[in-house]
């Protein structure tokens, strides 16, 4: 076997999610074609400027509940993923994105832009500071509200390890009725999208800490170099 290890049953959402209206015209009708990865076995090693403090912008402090988010990125063989680029974006404390197409009637915050970028260390660990995002309405169904969440985009050791996901917060009542969260069939897999409050990560008199660990896909067998690709890190 030289491909990716298969996903655990129910751990990933299907493309078509009837309760999430936007999937209706965007989910493919044909089943995906299984392919032996070739160039996908390698991936970009990206080096862009890090920005690990989202809690201030333009010399101002963001409004809202300051939080520290940290965790570890490993692959599904439990090995740390070092040097992984993590891109972050989120709504402000009032539930509004700094985005021209966000029309939610909530205030923008001049101290908050809502975008960050961090890299994992040799042990796969990352950390950033931000404010807790607010919930916001969306038009998926009557009285639909997204639970508080932070968007994560990750690049791992190979192209097929690419992951875009969302981190949720413990105790959020909106999780029970969110179609995007519930697109993931397996309850345990959904639960792993919810960060854990961590008092040890919390900084006294300053910010609450949340821990969010992430697991990326790994390859069955990793040659030192592929004929078509770059050496694996």
């Amino acid at each position: 076997m030289t491909g990716y290890r298969p996903f655990a049953p129910g751990s990933q959402p299907p493309y078509a999610v009837p309760s999430y209206g936007s999937t209706a015209l965007r989910a493919p009708h044909q089943p995906p074609v299984t392919v032996a990865p070739t160039i996908e076995r390698a991936g970009p090693q990206l080096q862009l400027p890090a920005h690990a403090d989202l809690s201030r912008a333009h010399g101002r402090e963001a409004l809202g509940e300051r939080i520290i988010v940290a965790g570890r990125v490993t692959d599904d063989g439990d090995r740390p993923v070092a040097g992984a680029m993590i891109e972050l974006w989120q709504a402000n404390a009032a539930g509004r994105y700094h985005h021209e197409r966000d029309t939610h009637d909530a205030p923008l915050d001049p101290g908050f832009h809502g975008a960050g970028r961090v890299f994992t260390d040799d042990d796969g660990r990352y950390r950033f500071v931000t404010i807790k995002p607010g919930a916001y309405p969306w038009r998926n169904h009557a009285n639909a509200w997204r639970p508080n969440h932070i968007h994560f985009s990750l690049f791992g050791a190979s192209w097929g390890a690419r992951l875009v996901t969302q981190m949720y917060f413990p105790g959020d009542p909106l999780l029970a009725i969110d179609p995007i969260f519930h697109a993931v069939p397996d309850a345990a897999a959904r639960a792993r999208l919810i960060a854990a409050f961590d008092l040890a990560l919390t900084q006294p008199e300053w910010a609450l800490g949340y821990r969010f660990d992430i697991v990326l896909r790994g390859l069955h067998a990793t040659p030192l170099a592929t004929p078509l690709g770059r050496p694996q890190p």
């Binding site: 491909g3 290890r5 655990a8 751990s11 990933q12 959402p13 299907p14 493309y15 999610v17 936007s22 999937t23 209706a24 015209l25 965007r26 989910a27 493919p28 044909q30 995906p32 074609v33 299984t34 392919v35 032996a36 990865p37 070739t38 160039i39 996908e40 390698a42 991936g43 970009p44 090693q45 599904d76 439990d78 891109e87 974006w89 700094h98 985005h99 197409r101 832009h113 809502g114 975008a115 968007h151 985009s153 192209w159 097929g160 690419r162 992951l163 875009v164 996901t165 993931v184 345990a188 897999a189 959904r190 792993r192 999208l193 992430i214 697991v215 004929p227 078509l228 690709g229 770059r230």
Partner: protein, 174 residues
């Protein structure tokens, strides 16, 4: 084994990630025939020619998808300073455009991921610039094979992505 973290949609508000410079993979790198002739400092040069790849992302009703993130990855050419990855946000007509170096003829294709609102996980695919007896293309019926082949020649290529229905692009399970 630990289960891989579940995918979730990139949503409609991801554009803080969308630096237009990321769609030009040749930035800061010169092809061999230009090395030394490009103004400014050039940290590396790449064997081969520059290509432009453009197209449209369309949904199951044939409507342009104006909030998609199109990403490409190519493992070749291997050269100093060439990262091989690019990202382009689709515009109001679903359009995207990349500028990059032609991949080596041994594997004349790019890996592609489409991310968007309404996609709870990426659409994985490839775009080919030639059919050199590739195993994936060979396994597909001709009509479906065509959906992975860019149209054009030499430096300018066109490739549309149909997410659903008639002419649906072949998407992959890696």
């Amino acid at each position: 084994m630990t289960a891989v973290t579940a995918s979730q949609t990139i949503g409609p508000f991801w554009h803080s990630l969308a630096d237009p410079a990321l769609a030009d993979l040749t930035r800061g790198v010169a092809p061999d025939d230009l090395a030394g002739g490009v103004p400014g400092s050039v940290p590396g040069s790449v064997p081969g020619s520059v290509i432009e790849l453009s197209g449209q992302v369309l949904d199951g009703a044939g409507a342009p998808v104006s909030d998609a993130c199109v990403e490409i990855w190519q493992a070749t050419p291997v050269a100093a300073g060439f990262v091989g990855w690019g990202r382009c946000a689709t515009d109001g007509s679903g359009g995207f455009a990349f500028r990059t170096f032609a991949p080596d003829t041994a594997a004349p294709y790019l890996a592609v991921a489409i991310l968007a609102r309404g996609l709870v996980k990426p659409l994985w695919t490839r775009v080919y610039f030639a059919d050199t007896g590739d195993a994936l293309l060979a396994a597909l019926p001709p009509a479906r094979r065509q959906t992975l082949c860019a149209q054009g020649e030499q430096s300018r290529w066109r490739w549309d992505v149909r997410m659903q229905g008639d002419g649906e692009t072949v998407f992959l399970e890696l």
